[in-house]
Amino acid sequence: MKIKKLCLPILLLFIPTGCLHSTVIDDIRLVQAIGYDYVGDDLVLSTVAVPNYTMGGGESGGGPSSSATTDSFSVISHTGKAIPTKMQTKAQQPLKLGKVNTILFDEDLAKHGIDDFVDYLNRDPVIGRKLYLAVVDGSTQELLSGQYEESQAVSIYLNDLIKQNIKYNLPRMNLHEFLYSYFGQGKDPILPILKKSGDHIEITGIALFRNGKYVGKIPIPNKTFIFKLMSQPFEGGAYEFYLKNNPSAYISVLNTGSKVTYSVKNGNSASPDILIHVKMKAIITEAPLRSNPKEYINKISKAMEKDIEKQGEQLVEKFQKMSVDPLGLGAKTRSQTRGWDFEKWKDHYPNADVKLKVDIQVKQTGITE
């Protein structure tokens, strides 16, 4: 009797199986990178890079192959946000977006605004939050369909390139961070800028956005290092500078751990006082030899502190003139000010008095010490 009662629910369980679409991994093509180029008003050239894993494999039925080729498809359409239907017609197997790890915009499109794309990326559940967005100096189609020295697929190359740089040179910039600063009050999004040069791709700087529009850039490398120092604690990254009296002797310093704290006073006044305090531990990796090292190290660190403070304040002044806030000073002020008003802050921000204070502690100068 019990079994008879159980039978019906078990039979019913098999009914909804028809509703599920299977995506067997070798019957689909995984789009791993998408590029969007500006063509004209409402017209977008979308390019997808699809790694072709199926070509490799030896006679033993498919051992992992050492190299993967990339197929790329391009299509001009009005709505480029998802995969256009036109693109599906070019592909042998259905294109799926679940493994996208990089999305590129060319500079023209970024200048016209990427709000529509941001809205789409925010809503689509198959798009992961850890993927990287980037602005390309040049055409994204060219970049995605190019041949590179690295033997991997271009999407993996791109992804590794950005990930590696974020660890050492650039602030954190993935889709999650982008959306957080795009929708959050008192913070503006930033993206890395990529450029194809020969058979390599390189990062040339950080793109500054205001309301989804590309408005300016921070060049690499020293400026981005200072920017990263001011925006988050990190470890790694090198800084190069020279002493005033000797411009030919460059000094190179390696960061082995930095911390940053913000303190805000008079957050609601017309010119808020913001103090950015950076504490950094460093290793001097390269410097001209001197007879009295202790005094010399002191001199270097003092000079470096001054240099970073000066450049950092210049950088913030530049942001204030452009009225972009990539450091999130507004958000920092809000956290330390009662009754903070975003509308008023917009007017106050360019007049804010931002000071940068840097303390450098030289930990060592190498194994010969």
């Binding site: 599920l20 067997v24 992992p64 192959s65 493994k99």
Partner: protein
């Protein structure tokens, strides 16, 4: 609805002989039944026995000379003279039948006389006590149970030399009258448990009882459950250990396995070896076994689910390995996995059925020929081959054979669920099993006890085994009459030597 009740009530026949005469008519049909008249001047008597059940040498050396001696006139004289301790003078045909079938000798004054003298001359034939073959251990005792219940009881009694160790004998099997012994330590074992076992044993109505495994299926709480509810063991040391914990042990005559109850699911994954190792290693191996169970059940279903539905979950560095290994394969992942799983099960079954000498060939054929050939032919991917082989290996780490079988077979429902609904299906299937396990009991005690209901004190000997210094109480779920092994506070008191 679909089924008719086919189990009709068949009236059971009365199989006992009514009179001594009927009994002897029945017995004389068998050729190994010996009956002869011993004639002397003063008296004559009939001696009958089964020569296959009786120790013939003993009969000739120690029994017949006493009967042949001059002074004996009747059965009472024999009873008085024979140097045998268990002599019964009876007119009851049932008793005579029972005893004759066990290897007793019957002496009558006349043929088919209703007054019989029966006494024991049982020949003990069977294996010598040997090393354990299933639950082998590197350290620890190396004795295993044999088929004779008396030898088994001897092995246990040696380890529990106290008068409170009680043995209750019950006969099960309407025809076979198999001796079944229930062992427990009075004062430790819970009375309720003892009564439950006794009641269940008494209520079993079946014609025979061949082995302990059969008994465990008959008296289990849920006969339809794939999970065994009694631990069967061939180690007398393990039996003694569980007796001291407050458990009840059942021995069946003719079975080299003892049943211990009540049990919880985690005990099936603890080998008795664990108690001989230092607690760190014992705990590590237990966790390893539990991991092996999870891996063995879930690995190939996860492979099917992820490759069929959830391509997003694959790390980008693994994509190339998986896709290129699958690119030449004509089957969907489910069929691929099913074929390999069936192949492994076939190998295991073939290995179990064949004699050991041919069994080695099976290993070579299965492992090398079929494994590599199926990958080279492009029928299965090498990634899956590795996973399935590892899963099969992992399933063999379960120390209990019955539980190991369960673990190997429950991956098939998981596999089907993974194909139908992906990871949600696996979760669903897992939910079904959890619900079943929650409801399952062993002797009325919860089956997944240290987990639910959560008993913190019992966790000391579940997933990990804490040192003996911490094992001050017996398992709580057994509700032992005497819960303490030693006084924990007194054991921790520091004795100053100088005082």
């Amino acid at each position: 609805m679909f089924w008719r009740n086919r189990q009709k009530k068949i009236p059971t026949k009365q199989e006992r002989a009514a009179t001594i005469k009927d009994l002897f008519h029945d017995l004389e049909v068998s050729n190994d039944f010996t009956t002869f008249e011993h004639k002397k001047e003063t008296m004559s008597c009939w001696i009958s026995f089964f020569k296959t059940l009786v120790d013939v040498e003993y009969v000739h050396r120690d029994v017949l000379p006493f009967i042949y001696e001059g002074k004996i006139q009747n059965l009472k004289d024999i009873k008085a003279n024979l140097p045998v301790e268990d002599i019964i003078l009876t007119r009851d045909a049932h008793t005579v039948q029972e005893k004759v079938m066990q290897g007793y000798i019957v002496v009558q004054m006349k043929k088919y006389d209703s007054e019989c003298l029966v006494f024991s001359a049982i020949a003990i034939q069977g294996r010598q006590i040997d090393k354990p073959e299933i639950e082998t251990s590197i350290i620890g005792p190396k004795e295993a149970f044999v088929e004779s219940i008396d030898a088994n009881l001897n092995l246990v009694r040696k380890r529990v030399p106290i008068p409170k160790f009680h043995v209750k004998e019950i006969q099960i099997g309407k025809i076979s009258k198999t001796r079944v012994n229930m062992l427990y330590i009075e004062g430790i074992a819970n009375k309720e448990n003892v009564n439950t076992v006794l009641q269940r044993l008494n209520e079993i109505e079946y014609d025979h009882m061949i082995d302990a495994a059969v008994l465990s299926q008959m008296m289990g709480d849920n006969q339809h459950s794939p999970f065994p509810q009694f631990i069967d063991t061939e180690r007398p040391d393990r039996v003694a250990g569980t007796l001291y914990e407050g458990k009840i042990v059942i021995l069946v005559d003719g079975s080299p396995h003892a049943l211990t109850c009540p049990t919880t699911i985690v005990e099936f994954f603890s080998a008795f070896d664990d108690y001989f190792l230092v607690w760190h290693f014992a705990s590590a191996f237990r966790l390893l076994r539990l991991f092996a169970v999870a891996f063995s059940v879930l690995s190939s279903p996860m492979y099917v689910a992820v490759l069929t539905y959830h391509y997003q979950l694959i790390p980008k560095d693994l994509l190339q390995t998986l896709i290129s290994s699958r690119s030449m394969i004509p089957f969907p992942p489910f069929l691929e996995a099913l074929i390999l799983e069936l192949l492994i099960e076939l190998l295991r079954e073939a290995g179990a059925r064949l004699p050991t000498k041919i069994g080695q060939t099976i290993g070579i054929v299965g492992g090398i020929v079929i494994g590599t050939a199926s990958v080279q032919a492009g029928l299965t991917s090498n990634v899956l081959l590795i996973m399935v082989a590892a899963a099969a290996l992992a399933s063999f780490t379960t120390p209990n054979y019955l539980m190991g079988t369960t673990i190997r077979l429950i991956r098939f429902p998981f596999l089907i669920a993974a194909q139908l609904w992906g990871i949600i299906g696996i979760a669903l299937c897992f939910g079904f099993f959890v619900a079943h396990l929650l409801k399952l009991t062993s002797l009325g005690r919860p089956y997944i006890e240290p987990i639910y209901p959560l008993r913190m004190t019992d966790l000391k000997d579940a997933f990990i085994r804490l040192p003996y210094g911490k094992q001050s109480t017996r398992p709580m779920f057994l509700r032992p009459q005497d819960p303490g092994r030693f006084n924990y506070d007194r054991a921790r008191e520091k004795n100053d030597i100088d005082e």
